[in-house]
């Protein structure tokens, strides 16, 4: 192996700057967490709403929700990101378009967060729909029979059950959101993958760089997994198979 190892590289100063490579990675880690958590908030709110809408009796609402899901889950994330960043602003009025492109604060971060949020919302919506549909039909009917309106049936009967049932499958999606946030480098968000590429090129110590970044991503996914497991234990529904474990 002709590789020139240098494990001290993380404490070295970057070229033409005062920080160390470790500072870069920490900053990148921060942006990765910020993008992932903000996108997850968007995905949860929209995903639960859209997933619920897919199960309502109103055909048009259900159909619109279906279109939403198909649109956002059938195009690769990287391509969607590109369309949001380069194509979408061109359809805005000229003044607004220029503002979005040049002066909007944190424009790369906002674009990446919205894009990842919408992409993930389609997947959350599918889990939500499956959760509601997995409930015995009798539950909804019982709600209506005791005089609840449709809204009340959802609010007091279906949603509280479904939200607890879908926590295990949502764990995977939550882990995915951290991993998927890596595409944000493509439009110049200064997150972990971006910093890895920059550090690799700047220091020429590729293997050390990729190893450090892999470990940092692993930590994100691991913490996300444990956090969801904790919530899962707290909200488990007695009497269901998952509850017996």
């Amino acid at each position: 192996m002709n590789y020139h190892w240098n494990w001290g590289v993380f404490l070295e100063q970057v070229k033409g700057g005062d920080e160390t490579y470790l500072d870069w990675l920490i900053a990148g880690f921060g942006w990765t967490v910020a993008v992932a958590l903000s996108a997850w908030a968007i995905a949860l709110i929209l995903g639960i709403a859209v997933g619920t809408a897919r199960t309502v009796p109103n055909k048009w609402l259900a159909r619109a929700a279906h279109v939403w899901v198909e649109l956002f889950r059938n195009v690769p994330l990287l391509v969607q990101l590109f369309l949001w960043f380069f194509v979408f602003p061109e359809f805005l009025p000229r003044e607004l378009s220029l503002w979005v492109k040049q002066d909007m604060p944190a424009k790369e971060f906002i674009t990446a967060t919205i894009c990842l949020g919408l992409f993930t919302s389609a997947r959350v919506a599918e889990q939500m729909r499956a959760g509601i549909e997995s409930l015995a039909r009798g539950q909804g009917m019982a709600g209506l029979a005791i005089g609840f309106t449709l809204g009340q049936t959802y609010r007091y009967v279906l949603l509280p059950m479904a939200l607890r049932i879908i926590i295990p499958p949502l764990t995977s999606e939550f882990m995915n959101v951290f991993k998927n946030s890596a595409v944000a480098f493509a439009i110049g968000v200064l997150e972990l993958t971006f910093q890895a590429r920059q550090m690799q090129e700047d220091s020429e110590q590729g293997i050390e760089t990729y190893l450090a970044v892999t470990v940092l991503y692993f930590i994100c996914a691991f913490v996300a997994n444990r956090g969801m497991a904790l919530i899962e234990r707290r909200t488990r529904i007695p009497g269901y198979i998952g509850g017996a474990k």
Binding site: M1, E70, L71, R73, N74, V75, P76, L77, L78, V79, Q80, F82, L83, F86, V87, E90, F91, S172, M175, K179, N180, A182, T193, G206, I207, Y210, V213, T214, Y217, F218, A221, F222, N225
Partner: protein
Amino acid sequence: MLSNFDFSVIAPSLPFIWTGLKFTVQLTLIAMSGGIVFGTLLALARLSSMAPLAMAATWYVNLMRSIPLLMVILWFFLVIPLITGKPLGAEASAIVTFTAFEAAYYSEIMRAGIQSIPRGQVAAGEAIGLNYWQVMSYVVLPQAFRNMLPILLTQTIILFQDTSLVYAIGAKDLLKAAEIAGKNYNRPVEMYVFVAGIYFVICFSLSFLVRRLQRKIAIVR
């Protein structure tokens, strides 16, 4: 903006993009078949009563699910040549990586499928004198596979989209081919819009088929 689009560059790039699409489909099919086979074995290992085997399989699955695919692709590409002493080339490396990576995801699906079979069926199989492998291959797995088919296929649609990440090691898939064409003609926007359309049409048709299949299976059951 749309009036500024210059779609004339698409026609000369079509043969180029077609080879990319062929590689994407090929990679998806191989990784799917390999992934389901290894994934099923992993699921059986996780459910087995041999503790070390179950633990090793659990670790493998959790590790693969915790690292971004992009990193896994890079690692396999950079590290495999060091183990074997022989470089694999981008295409072969992509196939090995996706099979190993997707196996972790397919194994989670197969595990859920196996666990959905009532215990009594296993007991019944054993009662009529079948051994472990016979119970699995004649009783449990066919049903688990059938029940999980729609979810396995949905995962395959995700796999189809994920293959776009092989750009990192220079294998030429659909997205990469479109990107190269876009760069050679300096028309990236047109190419991205075009390729988004291709992905959408293919993935949407597939998920439509999965839904129909789901209904069909549900009735039979």
